[in-house]
Each structure stands twice: as C-alpha cells, then as structure tokens.
C-alpha cells in the first residue's frame, strides 16, 4: 500500500534524490509492529468510511444538480436512519478501542528489565547514565555547523548524528528512566515506538526489546528552546558480546581520562583545545564569535566574569546559574575540557586576560 501511494504521488511530482517514505516506520520491536498494525487498521477503517460517505456525496453532486433538471425533494428527517448512523460508528469505535487498550497495557509493563538507563534531557543534548554500570556520558549533535549553514555538502545522516551514541544490547529488555534537567524534552526513536516526555521533577518509564542489531536514529520531539531541532538521538544496538566489550572499554577510558587530568598543559594547547570545546558546548548560546544574543545569552567578549577573577569564571562554568539557561558543566565535560574552555574564553573571542588554569586545579 505504501508503494501504491508513492507511485501515485510520483506521477505528480518530479523524481528527486531524497526518499519518499509516506508511512509510519514499522520498527524493530514487537511493540512497534503492534502499533504499526493498529495504525494501519484505523487507517483502513477511515478509508472505508471515507469512500462510502464521499461516494454518496459525489453521487449527489453529479446527479442531483439543478443544471441536470433535478428537483429538490421535501423530506428532512428520518429517525431510523439517524439512529443507524449513530450506532454503527459507535460499534466500530468499540471494536477499535479493544486492541488499542491491549497494546497500551503491554506498553506500560516496565517490569523485569535487564538493563536500566537514565535518560536526562538538557538544553540541547542527552545524558545517558547506566544505573547498573559506572557509565555516564553526554550525547551531542555532531553535524558540523558548516553543513547547517550550507557551506559544506550535507552528509546522509545530516542532523541525525551524535558524537557518542547510546549503546544497548540486542534481545534484552532495556528500561529507560526519562527525566530532564531544565525544560521539557521528549525522547523519541521511531524504530522502537518509544516516545516519552522528559520532564523536570518527574521520572517517566519506557522500555524496549530490540530484535536486530543496528543503528537507530530519532530526535527530541518537544519544543525545548532555540536548538530544539538540533538534539538528535542515536542508539547503537549491539550483539551481547560486543555490548560487553563496549562496557569494558568505557571503564578503561574513564581511567585514561583521569590520568590526563593530572598532567600539565601548555597555555597554547589549552587555548587550541578550548576553542573546539567552546564551539561544541557553548557556541549554541554564546555564539561562535562570543557576542551572545542580547536579552537572552550574555556575550563572553568583554564579559565582567570572563575577564574578572578566574575562580568566579570557573565557578559559573562548573555549577551554572540556577534559574537560567546557563547549566552546570561539571558533569558534562572532563577536567581537561573545562580547563581548556575557561582558558580559551579568557584569551580568545576578543579577550586577552593572559592567565590560564590547569585541569588539576579544576578538579579541586
């Protein structure tokens, strides 16, 4: 049926490069297929009703027109008919509601999960914490700004790619505990038929059991501010052995980065690294040139804090400022990145304070 619709449409529109998906994603879980079937069932019910109703309407439009000499009849009531077309839709609806309720009950059964992952929405990135393992990381959009600004050719995963995807094992029941750090977001992966709002102060639950390894992509679906369109979700589903290896790698990497934080870095290296961190983590609000957006996000260039005492500068970056969009970066960035970005803000973007801070100092 999808194919037929595509075909019908392509008669009207010139063929183009992009694909022409016109229907819901069937997905890779039992639940997502169940939902797809419900969707098709209600769709076909609508089609049948539509054909019948509009059929009669167009019949009258062609037959009962004045130009064909039609003379209006005088009836304007018929209780039997009216009762029938009240009761029949009612019965159809009940028959539709029953399977829908069964699917809902299944969706709400979050018990007995094998893996628990807390998903937290931030403006504008996702944080994934594996509750049974010591794994905790942020996942940011990785599409280069130049592609968004039409300077560079867009790659095929444009806006649907991240620096660090969520990784889960195949054929295991994975439970997501979804919440938010600031405004409301919504975590959606069409292939899993999982969409749940991430709400500050609430923890929502959802679950998935994926049947095929692969890479699945989704997006934030609740308006969450300026970069709402730029906080994608990528989930890598791995076979069990690969997943175990990935978990081990994560733990090893944690040790390496702890070691990196105890080294000393040259100021020029910090500034160079800091620019990259700044563009990835801060420029969304403070802008690439450091000018900010008046009334919403302050400029870093010539800012009192970024050119004042370094401890106060570090403090706002580490802990954020409650009640504003300036979030705490303590958990989001490594000590090396934090030292680098602060040093960069003081010695770049038109500022030249001249001082710097080392990762070891950040850690205290």
């Amino acid at each position: 049926m999808t194919k037929a619709m595509v075909l019908a449409l392509s008669l009207f529109v010139l063929p183009a490069k992009a694909d022409w998906q016109v229907n819901m994603t069937q997905g890779v879980t039992e639940l997502s297929r169940e939902i797809f079937d419900l969707h098709m069932l209600i769709f076909w019910i609508c089609v049948v009703i539509g054909v019948a109703v509009f059929g009669v309407m167009f019949y009258s439009i062609f037959k009962h027109r004045k130009s064909k000499g039609a003379v209006a009849e005088h009836w304007h009531e018929n209780t039997t008919v009216e009762v029938i077309w009240t009761v029949v839709p009612f019965v159809i609806l009940i028959s539709m509601a029953v399977p829908a309720t069964a699917t809902l009950i299944n969706m709400y059964d979050t018990s007995e999960a094998d893996v628990d992952i807390q998903v937290t929405g931030y403006q504008w990135k996702w944080r994934y914490q594996y509750l049974n393992e010591d794994i905790d990381f942020f996942s940011n959009l990785s599409t280069p700004r130049d592609e968004i600004n039409n300077v560079q050719v867009k790659n095929s995963n444009y806006l649907l790619e991240v620096d660090k995807p969520l990784v889960i094992p195949v054929n295991k029941k994975v439970r997501f505990l979804i919440t938010s750090n600031d405004v409301i977001h919504s975590w959606w992966v069409p292939n899993f038929a999982v969409k749940k709002d991430a709400i500050p102060g609430f923890v929502n639950e959802s679950w998935v059991r994926v049947e095929e390894p692969g890479i699945y992509r989704g997006q934030c679906t609740e308006l969450c501010g300026k970069e709402h369109g730029f906080m994608p979700i990528v989930v890598e589903v791995k076979a069990e052995a690969d997943y175990a290896r990935w978990v081990a790698d994560q733990k090893a990497m944690k040790l390496i980065s702890a070691g990196a934080a105890s080294q000393n870095y040259a100021v020029a290296d910090l500034i160079a690294k800091g620019e990259g961190v700044y563009n990835a983590a801060c420029a969304g609000c403070h802008q690439v040139n450091g000018q900010g957006m008046p009334g919403a996000f302050p400029a870093i260039t010539a800012s009192a804090i970024a050119t004042g005492p370094i401890q106060k500068h570090l403090d706002i970056v580490l802990n954020g400022k409650a009640g504003t969009a300036m979030q705490a970066f303590k958990q989001q960035l490594s000590a090396v990145d934090l030292a680098a970005v602060v040093t960069f803000q003081r010695n770049g973007l038109g500022n030249s304070v001249g001082d710097s801070i080392q990762p070891s100092a950040v850690q205290q």
Binding site: I49, V56, N78, A296, A322
Partner: protein, 532 residues
C-alpha cells in the same frame, strides 16, 4: 420610540427618524451598532489573517530546503509561536465574533445586540491586545518563542522577558472574548422576535449560543494559567517550577482544559455556517435539524473530558490513557452525525455551485479528512508515534484551514451581498476558491507523510529524507497565501461597486436576514418581525 414606529409605514422604518451612522472616525470609535462592530471585527480579523499568514510564509520559506537559510532558530520559534497565537486569537475567533455580530440579530429578528456598549468595548480592546503582543517581537530577547501552547517551564523560568507582555495581551484577549460571549448569550436568550422559539433558531445561532457558553467556561481558565505563570515569574511562587516543589505537568492539564474546548470554539460556529449554506444551494431543508442541535451540544459537553489526549506521552497512569482514549473516540460519533446530515441534505436536492457552496463542499470533505486523522490520533498507543510530529500539524491544519477558515470564507461570500448590497464577482470568487483549494492541499497533505516518516514539529531544519515533501508544502503555502489577495481585491471591488443585489440574494435562501433590504439598513427590525 415604539409608539412612533407604529405610525410610520414599515419600509420607512430606517433613516427617517433614527439617526444614521455618524460621520468620520467618531462613527467607528463610539459606535454601538452591531453592523458597524461586526464589520470592524471582520476587517480586524482579515488584517490579523494576513499578518499571521506572512509569519507562516517565513516558516515555510525557511523549511523550503534543509539547512538554515533565512532566519535564526530563535526567530523561527518566535514565528511559529506568533503565527499560532495570531491565527487562533486574532484571525479565527474575531472573525466568528464579527459574523455573530452581523448575523445573530438579523437571524433572530432583533434590532441590535443586547449589550451594545459592552460590544463596542469588547472590540476596541482587541487591537491593543495585539499591538502589545506584536510589539514584543521588537523587545530585547525577542517575543514569545515557546509555541502557542507555551508549556512551562520553557515559558516561565526560561522565557524571554517579553513574556510578561504576552501574559498581559492574553488577559485582554480573554476579557474581550468573555464580554463578546456574554453579549451573544444575552442577545439570543432575550431578544428573539416573538414566535422565534429555540427549536426554530437558525443553526448558526444555535452553534454560537453553545460556543459562547464554552467561551465563558474556559477563557477564565486560560486567564488563570497565565496568571499562575506571572506569579511564578515575578512573585516567587512555584506552581510550575519543579525545583520549588511545583509541577510542570499541571500546566499542561490546565492549558488543555482550556485548549481543547477552545478547539471546538473554533469549529462549532463553522458547523453553523455550513448548515446554513448547504440547504440554500441544495434547495432542500437541512436534514435532521434537531439531531444537529443535539450533536453540537454533545460535542461541546464531551470537549470538557478529552483534554489529556494532547498529553498521552507525559507519563499518565494507564487508566488515564484508556479513559481519554475512549472519551476522544466518542466525539467521532456526534461529529459523524453532522457530516451524514449535510450529505443527506444534498441527497435528492437541486444543487448549484456558487462560490459559498464550493467553499462549503470543500469544508465537508477536508474537515472530514482532518476528522479521520483526529480519530487516528485518538488511538493512544499509535499516538506515541504521531505525537508532536508533522502528522499532528497536518491534522490540526486540516480542521482549521479548510475547516474554520474555509467556513469563514464561505460565510463572507454568502452574506457579503447582504452587507454591501452588491452581487459578488463569481469568476473571481471561483478563482480564489480553486487556488485556495489546491494551495491548502499541496501545503498540508504532504505533512501527513513527513510526520509519519518521523519529522518532529517546530524545528527550523530537518534531515534530508524530508526534503521533497517540505518543498512541496512550501510551494503550496505560497499559492494559498497569495490567492488571498484575489479575495481581498474581490471584496474591495464589491464594497465600492457592483451589480445591485436582490433582497433574497440567493434563490434558495431562507431566513429572516433575507427579508430585509440589501444592503441591510443601519437599523433593522426596530419593530419585531412576525414568525409563524
């Protein structure tokens, strides 16, 4: 005055002793005449329709291709927010109030609205509300950027400073709507001509009566929710602030308790208009008059118990999901009855297809399409895949554009000869219709596809697989937008000149409004007509 009237011959009733319209600007500022106020509402709504439409074109131009071309994401959000607010509160609602002002007294045989001074006031505060709202676009930090649904905490803790002006504007609009609604109820209940019993009321009057009760019930809820926001922002409360022990989901419950009936406020008067037009051009009485009235009343009642179907993904308990799914599906029953009745009215009629009828027929088909997608959205488990995607955008634009807006267009073409005394140019009317019809479908039909394929709403940029349908939609939007210029030109020409219209105007028209001369004199029914 009544004693004087009796002595005068009926036709001379108007200008001979009642004063006519005052001269100059004062006429419009001080007027208490329902026809003047109706015209001002309609002109105001047309201006807002064009402003909101231009914002829609900014949105569609940005979405024509992937990548950021024209506007910043922050400004894009202000455009989507303002487009929604202006179309709902500035275009559709005032248009219906304008039609009610003109037509309710004429249809029930009343000389004017029951509370004419309040009528003046409820119109004249509206332009100020929208000046305040629009001016916020030029304030530091920009205008409202949190969507027309303004979910907290994006609209409180994280909002630009101009949100306070937005709140103030919403309060004024609400006051205007409540006053308008009180006036309509008072008029319909008290000022009907002798013999005009409730079950003889034209359906447009019936639907407006029910709509007015909905307005009185829910506009205070809207005022309440924005006041709570104001308290959170300026007075340290934490209604919606989780960090202070508040509840962001509470916001959504209150908002949609207003918002869902609001949706029906924008469609019930449309049902009334269509129920007037179809019988006229089918030359056959409306089928099932009383079931139409009961259907509208039950839709209105049900609209109070379905609000959380906008919130299936917030994490409601299972019983909540099931209840709101069932209640929502129930609404399809009375809505279906209405569609069946319209079609039964056409069946074995003697139809002609003047411009108002074309818009009415398009309404029946396209509104029903929007109803079908609404039924799909009601299926809670499937809604997890539809929610907050372009599928929803397609759905509510189908019920609001070829729904509410087409009904307003139909009403304008239908009653304009009565207002101006001139017959409309049919060729231009039909051109407007066909351009709008093609434009609307080209804009909104592909949105179903990209929505199902996974495109979220309210994003300024999108992944490559959505590109083709989005360019189609943008082309359609420009066709639809510019075709409204044909309408404006047609109306202006009609006001200025044109062939003289007869009193009945349309061959099949019935009802009191067609018994007065065209154009309707400044004062009508100073002596109540007799109804048998």
């Amino acid at each position: 005055m009544a004693t004087v009237d009796i002595d005068l011959p009926h036709v001379k009733d108007d200008d001979s002793h009642h004063h006519g319209p005052a001269k100059g600007l004062g006429r419009w500022l001080y007027t208490t005449n329902h026809k003047d106020i109706g015209s001002m509402y309609l002109i105001f709504s047309l201006c807002m329709f064009m402003i909101g439409g231009m914002m829609a074109l900014v949105i569609r131009a940005e979405l024509f291709q992937p990548g950021l071309q024209l506007v910043e994401p922050g400004f894009f959000n202000q455009m989507t927010t303002m487009h929604g607010l202006i179309m709902v509160f500035g275009a559709v609602m005032p248009a219906f109030v304008g039609l009610a002002n003109w037509m309710v007294p004429l249809q029930i045989g009343a000389p004017d609205m029951a509370l004419p001074r309040m009528n003046n006031w409820s119109f004249w505060i509206l332009p100020f509300a929208f000046l305040i709202l629009l001016s916020s676009l030029f304030m530091p930090g920009g205008g409202p950027n949190f969507g027309w649904t303004f979910y907290a905490p994006l609209s409180t803790t994280y909002a630009p400073d101009s949100v306070t002006f937005f709140i103030f504007g919403v309060h004024i609009m609400g006051a205007s709507s409540i006053m308008g609604a009180i006036n309509i109820i008072a008029t319909i209940l008290n000022m009907r001509a002798p013999g005009m019993t409730m079950m003889k009321l034209p359906l447009f009057v019936w639907t407006w009566l029910i709509t007015a009760f909905l307005l009185i019930a829910v506009m205070p809820v809207l005022a309440g929710v924005v006041t709570m926001m104001l308290m959170d922002i300026h007075f340290g409360t934490s209604f919606f602030n989780a960090a202070g022990g508040g509840d962001p989901v509470l916001f959504q419950h209150i908002f949609w308790f207003f918002g869902h009936p609001e949706v029906y406020i924008m469609i019930l008067p449309a049902f009334g208009i269509i129920s007037e037009i179809i019988p006229t051009f089918a030359r056959k009485r409306l089928f099932g008059y009383s079931s139409m009235v009961y259907a509208v009343a039950s839709i209105a009642l049900l609209s109070f118990v379905v609000w959380a179907h906008h919130m299936f993904t917030v994490g409601m308990p299972l019983v909540g999901e099931v209840f709101f799914m069932f209640a929502t599906m129930l609404i399809a029953v009375p809505t279906g009855v209405k569609v069946f009745n319209w079609i039964a009215t056409m069946f074995r009629g003697s139809m002609t297809f003047e411009t108002p009828m074309l818009f009415a027929l398009a309404f029946v088909v396209l509104f029903t399409l929007g109803g079908f997608s609404g039924l799909m959205l009601a299926i809670a488990p499937a809604d997890f895949q539809y929610h907050d995607t372009y599928f929803v955008v397609a759905h509510f634009h189908y019920v609001l554009v070829p729904g509410a807006i087409f009904s307003i267009m139909a009403a304008a073409y239908y009653w304009l000869p009565k207002w101006t005394g001139h017959v409309l140019n049919e060729t231009m009317g039909k051109t407007h219709f066909w351009l709008s019809f093609v434009g609307v479908n080209l804009t909104f039909f592909p949105m179903h596809f990209v929505g199902l394929a996974g495109m979220p709403r309210r994003i300024p940029d999108y992944a490559l697989q959505f590109a083709d349908f989005n360019s189609m939609a943008s082309v359609g939007a420009f066709i639809f937008g510019f075709s409204q210029l044909v309408f404006i030109y047609n109306v202006v020409q009609n006001v200025r000149a044109g062939q003289k219209a007869t009193d009945r105007v349309w061959e099949g028209a019935h009802g009191l409004e067609w018994t007065v001369p065209s154009p309707a004199p400044y004062h009508t029914f100073s002596t109540p007509p007799k109804i048998d």
